[in-house]
């Protein structure tokens, strides 16, 4: 309990410190890196509450990210205030989640994965068909473009996602989610309405994925409409969560830091091939380090003990 309080104080301090960064530097590079970091923390944390805590693997997170971006951008460019546009984007993702979740989460096994992959591929192609071009900002919005408000938007979204998800997973609801992940039948047997907890996790997850998408739409001056729907946005949150540590609260945060740094490094040195490296790292993680960086100390200890035993004999 005491430790948990300490952790919360520390987290709050970090957020406040980040909020003060713009008073100390004006370097655009710093801002854009931090914006991406906040975006990935939000997106991966939103994946983690559903995939890591509740055991429902969403392989189509891009659909929800993209939906948030699409709605927010359309409304914002049409003149709706930004904070309303981004909330509408989050809501759009939630509606999409309800449409997929109601049939797919009632069932077990592969249905949810298939449903999310289907919605993501179809959304990408459909959006590409209907809006084949680039979305440009209107001149007057372009004239006032500045990174600072973008920085704060991403920071606020991230802080909100972290707070909501932290308190959810440490509550009764979180117990229901974890039980659902570990064994649905056993969970039902002790009174957990597993469908309800899968749905709650999916709604929270899609809402924050949608907000992150809204942030993307606010951040980028011009991009292809279909860009936030591409496969990368499905893959990245999963990669980050597994690198950091699936089903742990700090995992996605650690994973995002690693990912953003490595991506900068690789993009400079390797170009396109950096995706190959990430693909391979991901597969190796799943096969050999399923608990990610968070689980590394335990894994090493385990290896060490096994050695020790053999020597002892």
């Amino acid at each position: 309990m005491v430790e948990r309080k300490k952790g919360l104080v520390l987290a709050a301090a970090v957020i406040v410190a980040l909020a003060l960064v713009p008073f100390f530097t004006v370097r655009e590079y710093v801002f854009s890196i931090l914006c991406m970091l906040f975006l990935y923390v939000t997106l991966s944390q939103s994946w983690n509450i559903l995939g890591g805590y509740t055991g429902q693997i969403n392989v189509g997170q891009a659909a929800f990210f993209g939906m948030g971006a699409l709605v927010a951008r359309l409304l914002w460019v049409a003149g709706v205030p930004f904070y309303l546009s981004i909330l509408a984007g989050g809501l759009g993702s939630v509606i999409l989640a309800i449409i997929i979740g109601l049939p797919a989460l009632k069932l077990r096994g592969h249905y949810f994965a298939i449903g999310t992959l289907a919605v993501a591929t179809i959304a990408q192609i459909t959006v590409g068909n209907i809006l084949p071009g680039i979305s440009f900002l209107p001149a007057q919005q372009m004239a006032t473009y500045s990174l600072i408000p973008r920085y704060y938007v991403f920071l606020i979204i991230m802080a909100a996602a972290l707070a909501v998800i932290y308190f959810t997973v440490n509550s009764r609801v979180g117990l229901g989610m974890e039980a659902t992940r570990d064994d649905e039948e056993a969970a039902q047997m002790v009174g957990v309405n597993t469908f309800k907890y899968k749905m709650i996790a999916f709604l929270i997850s899609s809402f924050f994925a949608g907000l992150a998408g809204g942030g993307f739409a606010y951040f980028n001056a011009s991009y292809y409409w279909y860009l936030p729907f591409t496969l990368m946005w499905c893959f990245e949150p999963i990669l980050i969560v597994f690198i950091g540590g699936v089903g742990s609260f700090l995992g996605p945060v650690i994973g995002s830091v690693c990912y953003v740094l490595l991506k900068e490094l690789f993009a400079l040195t390797l170009g396109e091939a950096n995706l190959l490296i990430f693909g391979i790292v991901f597969i190796l993680t799943i096969l050999f380090f399923p608990k990610g960086v968070i689980g590394l100390p335990a894994k090493l200890r385990q290896l060490f003990y096994r050695r020790g035993n053999v020597v002892g004999r």
């Binding site: 009632k106 992959l117 179809i122 192609i125 990430f278 597969i283 799943i286």
Partner: protein
Amino acid sequence: MEFAQYITYGVINGSLYALVAIGLALIMGIMGIFNIAQGSLAMIAAYGSVLFFQHMKIDPFVSLALTLPGMFLVGVFMYLTMFMSMNKFDPGQKLRNSMLVSFGLVLIMETLATILWTANERTVTTAYSGTVMALGDLRIPYTGIATIILAIVVIFGLHFFLKHTTFGKSIWAVSQDHDCAMLMGINVKRTTLVAFGLGIALSAFAGAVVSLHTVSPAVGIDWTNKALILIVLAGVGSINGILFAGLLLGIVEALGVYLVGVHYTGVVGLLIFIIVLMLRPQGLFVRKAGV
């Protein structure tokens, strides 16, 4: 274009969907391995067909003699390095881990294909490309006819192989009861390895047909998506059902194009996917499964 023409294209597309799905259905139904990379493997196989045609003028249907064993070896490699180690998991975890690993493979293959062959679309243009058979007003491309025949032969052939040959039956036995099959003297390890290789090799058929249309690195996941929808429509474990599910999806999509336009093709597929999940989650072509 008139209605019947749309339906014809629906049937052709549906046959192609079924060709992509069949390997996925085999591996999923028999081994409990969820391979999201199946469409990407078909994409790689299609590039194989394209390259054989470009450099050696080998017809895609002839180069199957090379791409089939090639993809089989790819399957064997995949199984030995990645999927075999998952046999120790319970079915749910096996499904999850195989799905995640194959998702990584999708990314790797797509990136690799982009680096090797660029993101541009490619196609094989043979002497018979573009030629059609006229049936009254109806025009049916010869490649389309070949697709339909290939789908029928491959799927019913696979069904026959599993039900009526010794090796096919042993694959079936292993999928039903691992331990029992071992007691019956079946070499379980070899059987699963070959079954997996076979499932991956089947992607070469799809690849040959795809190469006659268009290939690009990004189509892989799209094919997988269609294949997965077919599996839900047919019901996991159904082999023959895949062909009917493919035809159903192809025709419904064609109707969608006829009625609301080509932009929304995919949405139509998603809709029937959702409707089937709500009304008949065990699939259309299997009898109600026990618990």
